[in-house]
């Protein structure tokens, strides 16, 4: 038999109707994750056509994007400040009830960012096809699931038929070998990969991350890697499931139990690319050469190692516009760049281990004068776990804010905003113009660098603070 890739295998298991020259494949979707922002128009379509949700058990809903992170607003002690967001949240509640979809509503104890709670509740499993009206659905690929973002029309398709029309993507292997040096994290690795691939380097492809470095990563770290696949333009990111994956999933609420668990694991073990499987493209990265990374520009490919300078590029109007927007000077060092805000959160870096990494640095230290440090756990479960470990007290004692879970400052649509012209070291995934609020200037970095920068009041290398 011809050796096949992990992507080939998952694809083949979900082909309802194979693709032809004239028609795309009808691909079955195992798990559909939904949130308040990209679904209202899809439910309207169902109503106007008189359609039902084909299999409500395969769709799961939470509130995160436009949902406030301030407890008073979230728990209804005061009205939600953004009226349009309040209406959207209310509408989603109505939609889920009408169509019989399980929703973790605003006050639910298990609510959280959609890409954090999928894995946390054990909904995300190897070999599944998973979609959501959100580009960071690629996160779930960390479990060896084929997971990708879709638009609202396609949300309607999945609700109505549990299927999507898809052409099969190309495959790209990113092979990472070598030990990550001390103080260099999964976030630094994925920023380095995107820098190398470019923001369109993955267009039309599904990336499989492979190699000894990837095998050695925890599930939290793997999720950070796969999360940002879309920032290289890729359709999805994948990591083959292994013992680390199974150990993470075992015992989680929606994970198979008892004999079903053994059967599932036996199948999951087959979900690997065969030796000799061919990829359309390959990229090799030596992890041992990496340093902590930070972005300086207006897309996630524009990054440097912490000790490097902003590149000097002449005759490129787009580059000049980006640097001008960022208020930086070509040739300047990023280290020591003054900052105003630090955001620790998002589907990229708001899991417990991210909070722990930042807390380890900030413990016994204080946020620099004039700097706002917002800490937003990825889910209510993570928030409680962190509080049980006393992490909230460490952040609060240092002068940080401790919020309820949600997308928060990753994107300016829920009231959490970076001020016009202000610099924000952010553990999120996008540094686009205005992403965190009109005129905001985002510097993407790891949780460790975010914490170190909060203490210093400027972009700082976390390594000297790692005791």
């Amino acid at each position: 038999m011809t050796p096949t890739t992990l992507f080939d295998k998952i694809w083949a298991e979900h082909e309802v109707v194979p693709e032809t020259t004239d028609t795309p494949a009808v691909l079955y979707i195992d798990l559909h994750l939904t949130h308040e922002v990209t679904t209202p128009q899809a439910f309207s379509m169902l109503r106007s056509r008189g359609l039902k949700v084909r299999d409500p058990k395969r769709t799961f809903a939470t509130m995160d994007h436009s949902t406030p992170t301030l407890a008073d607003q979230l728990f209804g002690r005061v009205p939600i400040k953004l009226e349009s967001a309040a209406r959207q949240i209310e509408q989603f509640d109505v939609n889920c009830r009408e169509f019989g979809i399980e929703l973790l509503g605003v006050t639910h104890a298990d609510r959280g960012i959609v890409h954090i709670i999928g894995p946390e509740l054990g909904l995300t499993q190897p070999g599944k096809t998973i979609v959501c009206g959100d580009s960071h659905t690629s996160t779930h690929g960390a479990f060896g699931a084929l997971a990708f973002g879709i638009g609202t029309t396609e949300v309607g398709h999945v609700l109505a038929t549990q299927c999507l029309l898809q052409r099969k993507a190309k495959s790209l292997a990113v092979n990472v070998e070598g030990d990550l040096p001390s103080g260099v994290t999964a976030k630094d690795l994925i920023l380095a990969i995107i820098q190398k691939l470019g923001v369109a380097g993955g267009t039309g492809s599904v990336i499989e991350y492979r190699g000894s470095t990837i095998r050695g990563l925890s599930m939290d770290e793997r999720m950070t890697i796969c999360n940002m696949s879309i920032e290289a333009g890729a359709r999805a990111g994948l990591i083959a499931p292994d013992e680390t994956t199974f150990a993470y999933l075992k015992g989680r609420r929606h994970a198979p139990q008892g004999a079903d668990w053994d059967k599932a694991v036996a199948h999951w073990r087959t979900l690997v690319s065969d030796p000799g499987a061919r990829f359309d493209h390959e990229l090799h990265i030596d992890a041992s050469k990496l340093k902590p990374m930070i972005t300086y520009g207006t897309n996630p490919g524009m990054s440097v190692a912490i000790d490097e300078t902003v590149p000097v590029i002449t005759g490129d109007a787009v580059y000049a516009k980006a640097i001008d927007y960022m208020g930086l000077t070509p040739g300047q060092r990023m280290l020591g760049q003054k900052i105003d805000t630090v955001f620790l959160g998002s589907c990229t870096n708001a899991r417990l281990s991210d909070l722990e990494a930042a807390a380890a640095i900030i413990k016994g230290r204080h946020v620099a004068k004039g700097v706002t440090f917002l800490v937003v756990p990825g889910s209510q479960q993570i928030k409680r776990q962190a509080e049980a470990l006393g992490l909230d007290q460490i952040f609060l004692a240092a002068g940080a804010e401790w919020r309820e879970s949600g997308c928060s400052m990753c994107l300016g649509m829920n009231g959490d905003l970076v001020a016009r012209g202000a610099y924000c070291v952010s553990t999120s995934n996008r540094n686009f113009e205005g992403r965190q609020g009109i005129g905001s200037r985002t510097l993407l970095a790891s949780p460790a660098m975010a914490a170190a920068s909060a203490v210093a009041g400027c972009v700082a290398d976390p390594r000297p603070l790692l005791a």
């Binding site: 638009g151 787009v318 113009e433």
Partner: protein, 192 residues
């Protein structure tokens, strides 16, 4: 959806590369629960100043942009967020096609479902279009050809089924619903 066969229009040119969907439709306009009226927010942060007044030198604020149905953009337009509000906004503003050398996957897919043609052309054709803003261009979807006023004409790739749907004004939802028997058979097979 109205069938699309031929688009004949002057172009608007935005030569910047990597124009992401956060620029096309900033997140604060995503709290809507309908798809209507997004054209007024299109490129809001490039189009209006902090007082909400139109910025005169932004291309969409210029008289020449009025009535243009074709946007020529730099490489990798539509990268970033999956928000369908981006193509909804472009369509509502009046655009019916976007031409570039590379178009991001999700944005391309969303555009095809909303009567906005995502058209990828070669670098030389693209450069000519960038250099000639306002050029009268003809897009023939049936023939899959873009014709420039300088007499050249190039073929563009487009997914065959999406093209069929656009030419005939039908949507993919109906086709997927017609696959019900195959979907049921698949579900049965997997359950056993």
């Amino acid at each position: 959806m109205d069938p699309i066969r031929l688009i004949r229009s002057r172009t608007v040119v935005m030569p910047g590369t990597n124009i992401d969907t956060d620029q096309i439709m900033p997140a604060r306009f995503l709290t809507t629960t309908t798809r209507d009226g997004l054209g007024k927010h299109l490129f809001a942060d490039w189009r209006y100043d902090s007082q909400g007044k139109p910025i005169a030198d932004f291309v969409l604020n210029q008289a020449e942009a009025v009535g243009c149905q074709i946007l020529v953009a730099g490489r990798n337009i539509g990268c970033g967020s999956s928000r369908e509000h981006a193509p909804w906004g472009l369509y509502d503003f009046g655009f019916r096609a976007v031409i570039s050398t590379e178009i991001a996957d999700i944005f391309r897919s969303n555009s095809l479902k909303n009567g906005l043609l995502p058209i990828v052309v070669d670098a030389a054709t693209h450069q000519w279009l960038i250099d000639h803003p306002g050029a009268e261009v003809v897009i023939d979807l049936e023939a899959r050809r873009v014709s420039l006023p300088n007499g050249t004409s190039v073929e563009f790739p487009i997914e065959s089924f999406a093209r069929y749907c656009l030419l005939n004004g039908v949507d993919e939802t109906g086709y997927l619903l017609s696959q019900d028997a195959a979907i049921s058979a698949f579900e049965k097979r997997r359950a056993s």
